[in-house]
């Protein structure tokens, strides 16, 4: 599996990056759709506040996000402590933590894209589904969701790309542990922080870039199919 031009550690970083980015997207997709739905369709007082909270990871520096996650999910945090006591789960320093930090960071990006997708769904079609007997959940699954799928795909792609590059929050929350939490960006960062590390950093950045192209090609393929399915092409 390990091509000769990558050190074992770098190869691990590549695999880990892919894993972390994928897991973060998978984790955040469902909540993102839910939150997007609330933001677009919801009529409740705290809507703008929810919107702001969703944007928070964008607005504050990633290090602060990592720091906040540490406060929440750390072993002394309000979520981390019970997790540890009841389930013996310790998140920090694991690749799960890296995925979580990445998910939080890319969450606003997914939500935004999903929202745009949802907003462009013709409400007339949902109305038609209602008259055909489809209840709220049913018509969401069979009409709204498929019709907003271009937005979901776009969000997935953006989040995946951002996940490949997420750095500040991951290193703060999950630390940089080779083989565990050292993703590509952490490796790249390490390289740039070393005098003379430019070449290594450049090579790793190129790998990131190649991964991104791969992801985009895949997304392109899915989008083509999707557009055909949505009858737009």
């Amino acid at each position: 599996m390990n091509p000769g031009w990558l050190s074992a550690e770098e190869w691990q970083a590549v695999r880990l990056s892919l894993e972390v980015a994928s897991r973060s997207v998978l984790v955040s997709l469902l909540p993102a759709v839910l939150v997007a739905w609330l933001l677009v369709r919801g009529r409740f007082p705290g809507r703008v506040l929810l919107d702001a909270v969703v944007h928070l990871p964008l607005v504050v520096p990633p290090v602060v996000v990592g720091w906040g996650l540490l406060m929440l999910f750390g072993i002394r945090g309000p979520i981390g402590a019970p997790l540890n006591e009841w389930f013996g789960v310790r998140l920090v320093f694991t690749s799960e933590a890296a995925a979580l930090a990445t998910a939080v960071m890319s969450f606003p990006l997914i939500v935004r894209a999903v929202r745009l997708g949802l907003e462009s769904v013709d409400p007339g079609l949902e109305a038609a589904a209602r008259t055909l007997g489809a209840g709220p959940f049913d018509r969401f699954l069979t009409v709204t969701l498929p019709l907003m799928s271009p937005g979901i795909l776009a969000g997935t792609v953006t989040a995946f790309a951002a996940g490949l590059g997420e750095f500040g929050a991951v290193i703060t929350f999950a630390s940089n542990i080779p083989g565990e939490t050292q993703t590509l960006p952490l490796a790249i960062y390490s390289a740039t922080q070393t005098p003379g590390g430019e070449a290594a950093a450049g090579r790793l950045a190129l790998i990131s870039f190649a991964l991104a192209i791969g992801g985009l090609l895949l997304a392109e393929f899915v989008a083509r199919r999707m557009h055909r399915l949505l009858g737009r092409a």
Binding site: W67, L70, G74, R76, V92, T172, N176, A191, Q193, P195
Partner: protein, 236 residues
């Protein structure tokens, strides 16, 4: 650019002390210096790319070397007036002293999931000193897989403060400023290269009297008290 403006690029770990110095400098009737704090590496690269820095205060020697090799430094002005100590810290509520000497079995102090937080030895100065010290103790091979490598000292310290890591290896200055941790041991000075902070005047500021004066102020006897107050050791 007028001769009397002064831009100082200082390693992030000097933030607090430098703010203090800047005020003192102003209090003496000088214009306020502009201070830019970032990782030494970022600052060094910026200087390489023509950043308008008059004074560079690095947190470690290699990045000053990097700048000097590119002929951007007034060589004669390079000094390393202050230093730091490397300490082992533990969360304040579970601190038990650890004697740090050759062959101290640090790994034995750790539970199966525990890690020691410190800077990333690959690029964070504190991590490099930690690596040297652990190697000197003969513990590197055993401990290195158990390190939680943080982005900078403050993050490492935070991991200890929050109880994520039962131990951390940080500078004594940082340890002193944190209420959440307690120093449980100090690495012997001979266990690692001296922790020094090289300062130098940049070549572009060769004729900048302000810059020279400020550098002199920082390295002069009047500053010693302030440096000590912030936990730094004075060189020699």
């Amino acid at each position: 650019r007028a001769q009397d403006t002064l831009t100082v690029f200082a390693a992030a770990s000097l933030t607090d002390a430098m703010r203090d110095f800047a005020q003192a400098w102003q209090a003496r009737g000088n214009p306020a210096p502009r201070l830019s704090f970032a990782a030494s590496s970022a600052l060094a690269r910026q200087i390489e790319q023509g950043a308008p820095a008059d004074l560079f205060m690095s947190a470690d020697e290699p990045w000053m070397d990097y700048v000097q090799q590119r002929d951007l430094v007034v060589n004669a002005t390079r000094v390393s007036p202050i230093g730091n100590a490397l300490v082992l810290v533990a969360p304040a509520d579970q601190a038990r002293p650890v004697a740090l000497a050759r062959d101290t079995d640090l790994a034995a102090l750790l539970g199966p999931q525990d890690r020691i937080a410190t800077g990333d030895p690959a690029h964070v100065p504190v991590g490099r000193y930690a690596q040297a010290a652990l190697t000197w103790m003969g513990q590197w091979d055993a401990v290195s897989p158990r390190l939680a490598r943080a982005d900078n000292v403050r993050s490492a310290l935070l991991l200890v403060e929050r109880g994520e890591a039962p131990y951390g290896i940080v500078y004594s200055t940082d340890a002193a400023a944190s209420r959440g941790v307690r120093v449980v041991g100090t690495f012997p000075a001979e266990s690692h290269p001296p922790i020094t902070y090289p300062f130098a005047l940049m070549r572009r500021a060769q004729g900048n009297a302000q810059a020279r004066a400020f550098l002199a102020f920082l390295t002069g006897p009047d500053s010693a008290g302030t440096w000590r107050r912030f936990g730094f050791a004075l060189a020699r």
